[in-house]
């Protein structure tokens, strides 16, 4: 308890940054991931190939390498000057999107083909079928894996500590230099993450309960 109370100036801002990273990357990756999933099921071969390439590339690259690229290699390209925080959000978003895409696609696969065919029969376009018929049904079946992906995302934010973003993962470095026990310090970090994950687990449970009736 002493470690926590003496270093509230670390824990407070640290976890706040973690939450900021998580919220921004979650929104980004949910949007980008869904778009990618739409690409992967689209009738146009080029779009399908693009989606597949993206997923293969980012799902098979370690997140640390993606961070490394944005922190050290990207600035050399001199395209646009981004802060380390922005770089972290971009890296997390790009990486998580690949997983979100596959989760959404697995949901789309649970919707019977007949549904889409019926939509086509009454003259709906591909976009209309996806947004009005397939995706709403797909969303319901992907709640548990999607929450898992998001929980993984919130824990992945700690990698940013090595790339000049001071968040919960950085706390141990500060504690060690201040001479506090890192072990106890990390227990508090772990507890902090449990507290962050609990609301997501509750959300998952309530969504599952509410939507399971509809099937």
């Amino acid at each position: 308890m002493e470690v926590l109370l003496d270093n509230l100036d670390l824990y407070g801002p640290g976890f706040l940054t973690t939450i900021e990273l998580f919220v921004l990357a979650a929104i980004g990756s949910l949007v980008l991931g869904t778009v990618l999933a739409m690409l992967r099921v689209s009738p146009v071969p080029v779009l399908r190939a693009a989606g597949t390439t993206y997923v293969t590339l980012f799902r098979n690259t370690p997140l640390t390498l993606i961070f490394f690229f944005f922190a050290f290699a990207f600035p050399l390209l001199k395209v646009v000057d981004i802060s380390f925080f922005t770089a972290a959000v971009v890296a997390l978003t790009l990486y998580t999107s690949a997983f979100v895409c596959e989760v959404v696609r697995s949901g789309i696969n649970t919707v019977p083909v007949g549904q889409a065919e019926a939509g086509r029969a009454v003259g709906l376009t591909f976009g209309q079928i996806l947004s009005n018929i397939v995706l709403p049904q797909a969303t319901r079946s992907v709640v548990p894996p999607m929450v898992s992906t998001m929980i993984a995302l919130i824990k992945n934010t700690t990698i940013a500590s090595g790339f000049s973003v001071v968040e919960a993962g950085s706390i141990q470095y500060y504690l060690s230099e201040r001479g506090y026990s890192v072990m106890i310090g990390l227990l508090w970090v772990a507890l902090g993450f449990v507290i962050l994950v609990i609301p997501m687990t509750l959300l998952q449970r309530s969504l599952e309960k509410r939507w399971s009736v509809a099937r």
Partner: protein, 305 residues
């Protein structure tokens, strides 16, 4: 007329070139042989015989293992550095580790080095993963609650490393508005943050000093800050690119980390360091490692507690 001028010019040029060549090579060799500092040899250490350290469990562990396991840094040129091609450690801290090993009665070549990053040092000593630790380990009261310290064997102070052609930064008070890099959570960067030496947005925290130095050479940051001993190591490596500026603005006494309750080993290491300071071994080690940067160093005073 024109042709003659050209010919004369060529002749002069050719002469100058050959003269340069003749002058250059012997003076290079002369530099290495004549200058005491740059040619300083590493000392060899006599292995002590029949060493006993009464009441030291750590020493007993070393004896039963047949060699000490020493925690070190591997990414700090001049202090604790692992050469990726030869897989050999070198530097001031490594020499101190070898000296202690020899005086404890083990062959310096038998040492098992274990690279431990700053954040893992206390735990490595508490868990017994390493027998002792030599790696820019600043002695402070908070840490003494968890581990024991022999020494200090060196006193460093926070300094600034900047590009050779930088004239804006001359000391800590000139850092405002400049990008400053150091290792995540390290004492130097905490000091910069707390004293507000530069704006929060300009503080860059990376995992290793080498990454910071890379950013400095790319012009992504304006200064790298940490103990001057570490910075001197980088400046000595690439003298035409970097320089260490300003007075040091803190005092960092480096100690040898030992398990907390092992007072016997701590006192033994203190004795070893004291005799190395007295008989000139310490100076030899300094001259052959950090001393190459050309900067002198004050001898530390062993603190026994």
């Amino acid at each position: 007329m024109r042709i003659r001028t050209l010919a004369a010019g060529l002749m002069v040029g050719a002469l100058a070139l050959t003269a340069c060549g003749k002058e250059g090579s012997p003076s290079d060799a002369g530099n290495e042989d004549g200058n005491g500092n740059s040619a300083a040899q590493l000392p060899t250490y006599d292995v002590a015989q029949d060493v006993t350290v009464e009441g030291s469990p750590t020493f007993q562990q070393m004896q039963s293992a047949g060699h000490p396991i020493i925690g070190v840094k591997q990414d700090q040129p001049g202090l604790g550095y692992l050469d990726p091609t030869t897989q050999e450690y070198s530097g001031f801290d490594i020499e101190i580790a070898r000296l202690i090993t020899a005086k404890l009665g083990f062959q310096p070549d038998s040492i098992e080095y274990k690279p431990v990053p700053s954040a893992g040092r206390e735990q490595a000593l508490i868990n017994g993963d390493v027998h002792y630790y030599v790696g820019t380990y600043t002695i402070n009261d908070k840490r003494k609650e968890q581990v024991g310290f022999a020494g200090p064997y060196f006193v460093a102070g926070q300094g600034l490393l900047v590009a050779e052609d930088n004239s804006d930064i001359t000391g800590p008070e000139t850092l405002k508005g400049k990008k400053v890099c150091s290792v995540s959570g390290s004492t130097p960067i905490q000091r910069v943050r707390q004293q507000g030496l530069t704006e929060d947005g300009n503080i860059v925290e990376l995992q290793t000093y080498s990454q910071c130095v890379t950013q400095l050479s790319q012009g992504k940051v304006d200064a790298v800050t940490t103990d001057d001993a570490i910075l001197k190591g980088y400046a000595a490596e690439e003298q035409d690119k970097f320089k260490v500026v300003g007075e040091t603005f803190s005092e960092e006494p480096y100690g040898v980390g030992v398990p907390k309750e092992d007072t016997a080993l701590r006192e033994k290491v203190n004795d070893i360091l004291q005799s190395a300071l007295d008989d000139g071994t310490w100076d030899q080690i300094y001259d052959a490692t950090l001393g190459k940067s050309g900067a002198p160093a004050d001898k530390p005073t062993i603190e026994r507690y």
